[in-house]
Structure formats: structure tokens, C-alpha cells
């Protein structure tokens, strides 16, 4: 693995000049070093031409380039600052279809005037992946968008770090033209007063401090009135995104004196939020890693039909681990976006160890690889192995899982039992997994009655897939991380 050689001068440019003459031109430049790159350049050109023809894009043209600094000599509307460089070598040894998969979205982004063209490792900051950093969930997004357009509301559930917030952000952006959208992160504003103040401030445009004073008096009324005002004044149908609902329910739990007060406040909170939404026909998307209905049932004995407003109508949607149609292609897109040139053996190794199912840790690891490559100029597979070992030992990219296991599991025994189950799954080869029976045996160590609940908690919190009576991890990297946590090496290494 090495950094892209952007000092190469010769190549073929795919330039786009806005036919409307409004947007700034763009240039994708595929640099070559010699005869070994001819085939790759041919494939790139064929794939590019085919996409442009298929989509009937206008304004694209191919140019031979001998000096990128003089691109304006090709056409005065092209500027060297607008060139995005690649090496044809990065597309070498790929099938035509693979080249098309890599190149087509790039061409689409150029044609649509998008500023960003590819995800990059440097974009891994731990927050929701937005824009180009959002990895492929095309089919699920289309289905969720369709449901919302049809007027449905739902609870989006997935284990942590699977991209729920990113999906909501993407839906928010996709729907923003036809809908009024509002995003409420309850992990950030978990107390009803804070939540009410935040929405009041949205309505009145007064400062958050002033809104807090008003909300202090009667949080639920302020919350209700604010949601109602937002719905009423929205010129378009409304979609309300609520992230981490259970965080708010937990905050109520902390402050309530007794069970009855907690129950009453929980219902009041849900009524204040969901009542006006139902009244005004707004859609709602609620997301969380914990099944909120199980939570309400087990903690307060509340069933969904007893819940107020829109909450009674939420259907549950499970967001599965990122099912990348072509994981290698996604990986290559990330490498392309990060100017990392991988040799076939690097790609093979990365595909075996660093899937993007749980994107954040994988992207963070690749960012470390990029840093090391910048520092040393070249990183081979042996060094990749060492880097991964160090990463698994020291990274905080999985801290969220760790925190949930150690602080949010029902009991110490439960933590141990879950840990044992995770180890049992991890010890088996990634593709094979372990029998469900073996997992259940581990969970039973926490006490017979809670085993079923723990099984649910295990699947809701960690990237675990249950299929054909087998349990396996959805993420190779998570498996390796867990093995390193328990001091074991992967048996299938």
C-alpha cells in the first residue's frame, strides 16, 4: 500500500463542463506511468463512456493530458485546481463490471454537481456519517423513504454503531424538498425540560437559556405546544426524527421519585411529543439500539396500544448490519477517496480483516493505515498485520460497545454471560459462527430467567447475526477486536 503518486503528469482526463454554464467545471484525471496501465485506462474509458451514454449526461469529454498544470490549454473553462487525480493503476486487474461500479457513482456525482466524490478515511470522526461518507444502504433507504411518503411512522432499531443516525440524517436530507423535517437527539437533550426548551427555542427563536426558563415551569405543556406550533406552521407535511428515545425514558427514570411518578411522567412525555404529531398527521421516525417497546413493557408494564399519540402507531423496522453488495468495491471506494493505492495482496488482506459492516472502526483503522503510509511511504501486508494488532489493542473505536457491555448490561452476571457468548461466537471461524445452543448455554450462566432477555440484548447491542440456528458476527473487525479483548488470537488466521 502506498500513497497515490500525484506527480505523474501523463494521463487521460474526463472533463465535465456544465452545459448550462452555471457550475464550475470538474476534471477526473487518470494518470499513467507506462504500458502496464494501458489496459486499465482502456477499461476506465469504456466504463466512463458507457455510464455517460446510459445516463445521457451532457458536458463530458475525454482529453489526453501531458501536463495537468496546463489543462486550461485544452479548454479555457478547465482549471488545474478542479482536477481530481487518480492513478489508472488503482483500477488495474479489475473486471469491467468492477471498474463500472467504482466509476459510475463518481461520474454521477460530477454530473449532479456534488462537491464530494468519494468517502475518505479522514472523515471518520465518530459522528453520524453524512454526505459522501455515508456508505451504501440504497435499497433500505428507498424502502424507508417510500414508507414515510406513504404516511407511515416507524421505530428504527439496530445495534450500536450500525448507522441508525446516519440513515435518519440521509432520510432527512432526501425528504427535505417535499417535507418539513426536524431532528431531535434525545441523547443530547434527554430531560423533558431540555427537550422542551430545545423545541421552544426552535419555535420562538428565543435563546436556549430563555427557553429553558419557560420550560422549567411546565415542561410537558411547553413540549406539546412547541411540537404543535412546529407542525402548524410547517408549510409542508412534517417528518419528526427522534434519536435515542430510550435516553429520555432513562432520564425520567433517574428523576422520578417512585414507580407511579415515573410511569405518569413517561406517558406525559410521550403524549406531549406524539400527541400533536398524530393530530397534524406528521410522520415520525424514532431510532434506538434498544427495543423501546420491550423497555416500556419490562420497566413500566406499558404496551404499545396504551401509548399516546403517534407512538401507538409506530411500526418496528430493523436496520440490519450493512449488507454491502460488493464489500471489495466499497473498500476500494474508500481507498480511492483516501489516495491510498493498494496492491492485490493488500486488498485481499483488507477484505479478510476490515469489512465496513460496522463502518466507524474500520474507517478509523484505515485512517491509521493512511497515516502510516504517509509517514513511511509504503505499508506491506506484514505491516498491516502489525498495525491491526496495535489498533485492536489501543483503539477507542469500539468504546461504545465496551461501555454498553460494562455499564448498561442488566447485571454483573449478565455482563459475564454476554462476554462468554461473544467469546464463543468469536472463537469459531467468521463465516461459520457457533450454534445458538452454545450461545444460550453461555447466557444461562446469568440465571435461567434472564437468558431470553439477554439474547435479545446481545443482538440489539452487538453486531451479531442469528441465521440457520447459528450465531455469527456481522463484522470481521468486531470479531478480531473482541478476540483481542479476551486475549485470544483468531483461530482462522
Amino acid at each position: 500500500m502506498r500513497l497515490r503518486n500525484e506527480n505523474l503528469k501523463t494521463g487521460k482526463a474526463l472533463a465535465w463542463i456544465d452545459p448550462a454554464g452555471v457550475r464550475r467545471s470538474r476534471v477526473l484525471l487518470f494518470l499513467i506511468e507506462g504500458a502496464d496501465d494501458i489496459q486499465a485506462l482502456n477499461e476506465i474509458e469504456t466504463a466512463g463512456r458507457s455510464r455517460i451514454e446510459e445516463r445521457r449526461y451532457e458536458g463530458f469529454a475525454w482529453y489526453p493530458i501531458a501536463d495537468p498544470g496546463q489543462i486550461s490549454l485544452v479548454d479555457q473553462r478547465l482549471y488545474s485546481a478542479d482536477i481530481r487525480r487518480f492513478e489508472a493503476h488503482e483500477f488495474r486487474d479489475l473486471q469491467q463490471e468492477q471498474v463500472s461500479r467504482l466509476l459510475s457513482p463518481l461520474i454521477d456525482h460530477v454530473a449532479n454537481g456534488s462537491v464530494e466524490l468519494l468517502p475518505r478515511t479522514g472523515g471518520a470522526v465518530g459522528g453520524p456519517a453524512e454526505g459522501i461518507q455515508f456508505l451504501n444502504r440504497t435499497a433500505e433507504l428507498a424502502e424507508l423513504e417510500d414508507s414515510l411518503r406513504k404516511g407511515m411512522s416507524f421505530f428504527l432499531q439496530a445495534p450500536r454503531r450500525m448507522g441508525k443516525t446516519s440513515v435518519m440524517r440521509r432520510l432527512e436530507s432526501t425528504l427535505s424538498e417535499d417535507f418539513e423535517t426536524l431532528f431531535l437527539n434525545l441523547e443530547r437533550n434527554p430531560r423533558p425540560e431540555e427537550c422542551a426548551a430545545r423545541l421552544r427555542s426552535e419555535v420562538t427563536k428565543e435563546g436556549l437559556h430563555a427557553a429553558r426558563r419557560a420550560a422549567k415551569e411546565n415542561a410537558y405543556q411547553v413540549l406539546h405546544d412547541s411540537v404543535a406550533s412546529l407542525c402548524e406552521r410547517a408549510g409542508k407535511p412534517m417528518v419528526f426524527f427522534v434519536d435515542e428515545l430510550v435516553a429520555a425514558l432513562e432520564a425520567i427514570k433517574q428523576e422520578a421519585k417512585d414507580e407511579s411518578a415515573r410511569r405518569q411522567r413517561t406517558v406525559s412525555f410521550l403524549a406531549a411529543l406524539g400527541g400533536p404529531l398524530k393530530l397534524y398527521g406528521a410522520r415520525m421516525v424514532v431510532a434506538g439500539s434498544i427495543n423501546w417497546l420491550d423497555y416500556l413493557d419490562s420497566e413500566l408494564g406499558l404496551k404499545q396500544q396504551e401509548l399516546p399519540g403517534q407512538f401507538a402507531d409506530l411500526s418496528r423496522r430493523i436496520l440490519k448490519p450493512l449488507d454491502l453488495e460488493d464489500p471489495e468495491c466499497e473498500l476500494r471506494r474508500l481507498l480511492l477517496g483516501s489516495a491510498l493505492v493498494a496492491e492485490p495482496e493488500d486488498i485481499a488482506w483488507l477484505c479478510e480483516h476490515v469489512d465496513l459492516t460496522v463502518p466507524f472502526p474500520a474507517v478509523k483503522f484505515l485512517d491509521q493505515v493512511a497515516g502510516e503510509t504517509k509517514a513511511s511511504g509504503n505499508v506491506d501486508v506484514a505491516e498491516l498485520k502489525l498495525l491491526l494488532e496495535e489498533f485492536l489493542r489501543t483503539t477507542d473505536a469500539f468504546a461504545d460497545f465496551d461501555e454498553h457491555l460494562n455499564k448498561k448490561s442488566p447485571s454483573r452476571e449478565a455482563t459475564d454471560a454476554i462476554g462468554e457468548a461473544l467469546t464463543a461466537i468469536a472463537r469459531e471461524p467468521f463465516e461459520v459462527g457457533v450454534s445458538r445452543e452454545r450461545v444460550n448455554t453461555a447466557l444461562l450462566h446469568a440465571g435461567g430467567k434472564s437468558a431470553k432477555k439477554l439474547d435479545t440484548w446481545l443482538r440489539e447491542t452487538f453486531p451479531v447475526i442469528i441465521e440457520n440456528n447459528k450465531a455469527r458476527f456481522a463484522s470481521r473487525l468486531f470479531r478480531l477486536w473482541w478476540l483481542s479483548q479476551v486475549g485470544e488470537a483468531s483461530a482462522d488466521e
Binding site: L8, T10, A35, N42, P64, A66
Partner: protein
């Protein structure tokens, strides 16, 4: 019927395997032949082969430039012209016709072998500043093809890569700069080499010349070459003058080179 139409009419292998059927309307036949030529040129991705050669030669140019004192490097390389890498179908027909005498029957370069026979079907140009720059770069390009196998270890990585990937016709670049007057067929001045991939017979012509030589070529192209190609009458005096301009600019190049040498070696000047 013009000469191109006659060539297409009489010698394009209509309907044979790999060739289109003959259009009913004679007026469509030249266009159909041009379309077929365009397809043949595109299938072979000739421009990408030429770019690969350019990338290899560019490295050698960079190597020569890196041997110059830092103050001289910015003036060394002027530009590469890769804007017309592959001849247009119309130019291919023009060239076929130029070398064809109808009374002799089939053209020397035909539709079945133009890809292999035309030396300048694919070409690019590298323009340097001084005559000595052209010589230095050409020496470096020729060196791997001229040296013995036992001497190859002295070659630079760029030279080895060029020789490893491309063959040079005759193992040398033709010298149209220092050709004797009696040997000169035109006023054009440059170094010219024909390269090809080992597994391909398609040739790529590389021209290396000075800025003044390119300047002359650009003017000649407009004043004489294009007009002659269109069949316009060329005034004899224009031909004489344009030829003389090439000689004049050569003398200018020689003078510039002498001045360059003088500022590089001031002591020698004192002597």
C-alpha cells in the same frame, strides 16, 4: 469524383468480412469508409498506447532536467503536444491518397494495412527550449536502444522502463535538424522516432524539437501544409520563403545555443 472518393470507390473492400456493405448512394461511401476507419482506430485504443509512451519519455525528460542547475530547470521544458494523438479518419484517407497513383492500381497503404504501415498514425511532440536540450533528451532516449546488453546497468530507471516496454524503430531517432542540404526533403526540423509495443505493429511517431522549430511548424502548417492538402495553389515564392525561414530560425537556434554555452562557461569565453 475527387481522388479520395475514387480510392474509396475502387479499393475499399465493401462487404468483405469485417467491412460494411457498400452504401447504395455513392455520396455516402466516403463517410461510411471514414466511419469504419474511426472504429478501427478506437478499437486499438491507440491514444492510450501513445500516452503510455509519453509517460515513459516524460520521465526521461524529467531526468535530464534534474541534471541541470536549479536556475536552468524552469526554462528547459516548454510543452508536450498530445492534442492530436491519433490521425482523424479524414487525415488517414488524405495520406493514403497522397501516396496513391490510380494508374498503379491498389494503394501502397491500403484499408487492410494502414494501421501497421502508417508511421505517423499516432504521434505526439515534445518541445524543449534549446537545441542542446533536444540533443540531450534524444541522446538519453536512444541510449538504451544503442548500448550493449553488458552496459545496461548504467541506464537510469526511466531509460530501462522505456526500453522494457517499447521498441524504437532502427534503434535511433532520425535527425532532421542536422541533415545535410542535399539530403533534406523538406524544411521541417526536428528529431523523430518511431516506437511500437513488442506485441503490436502499430507505430507511434515521437517528435522532439525546439520552441523555434515548433513555431516554424505551426506557421508552415497554416500557410503551406493545410492549403496544399486542400488542393489550393501554393505560390512558389511562398514555398521558398517559408523554407528560408526554417533555415533562419535554425541559425537563431544555433546562436541561442552558443549564448547558452557562453553563460554556462564564462571562463572559456574570456579565452
Amino acid at each position: 469524383m475527387d481522388k479520395i472518393a475514387r480510392l474509396v470507390e475502387d479499393h475499399f473492400p465493401w462487404g468483405q468480412p469485417g467491412y460494411p456493405p457498400k452504401p447504395a448512394d455513392p455520396a455516402d461511401r466516403t463517410a461510411e469508409a471514414e466511419k469504419w476507419i474511426a472504429g478501427r482506430l478506437q478499437i486499438r485504443s491507440l491514444d492510450n498506447v501513445a500516452l503510455a509512451l509519453h509517460a515513459r519519455i516524460q520521465k526521461i525528460v524529467d531526468e535530464v532536467e534534474s541534471t541541470l542547475p536549479a536556475t536552468e530547470r524552469p526554462r528547459f521544458f516548454y510543452r508536450s503536444d498530445v492534442s492530436h494523438l491519433v490521425k482523424s479518419p479524414k487525415s488517414v484517407l488524405d495520406k493514403m491518397v497522397r501516396e496513391w497513383k490510380p494508374k498503379d492500381g491498389a494503394p501502397k497503404v491500403g484499408f487492410d494495412d494502414f494501421l501497421e504501415k502508417m508511421d505517423d498514425l499516432v504521434r505526439f511532440r515534445i518541445v524543449l527550449n534549446f537545441l542542446s536540450d533536444v540533443k540531450d533528451v534524444c541522446d538519453k532516449i536512444e541510449e538504451p536502444y544503442k548500448c550493449k546488453a553488458s552496459e545496461r546497468s548504467r541506464l537510469t530507471p526511466a531509460q530501462q522502463a522505456l526500453m522494457g516496454e517499447f521498441r524504437l524503430d532502427g534503434n535511433r531517432l532520425r535527425n532532421l535538424i542536422r541533415a545535410l542540404p542535399a539530403e533534406r526533403r523538406s524544411a521541417e526540423r526536428c528529431r523523430k522516432g518511431v516506437f511500437f509495443l513488442p506485441d503490436s505493429s502499430v507505430k507511434i511517431e515521437v517528435q522532439i524539437q525546439t520552441m523555434l522549430q515548433e513555431a516554424w511548424d505551426k506557421k508552415d502548417h497554416f500557410l503551406i501544409y493545410e492549403r496544399r492538402r486542400r488542393g489550393d495553389r501554393i505560390d512558389e515564392h511562398h514555398s521558398i520563403e517559408i523554407y528560408a525561414m526554417s533555415e533562419l530560425l535554425y541559425v537563431a537556434d544555433l546562436t541561442f545555443d552558443r549564448l547558452l554555452d557562453a553563460i554556462r562557461h564564462p571562463r572559456r569565453k574570456k579565452k
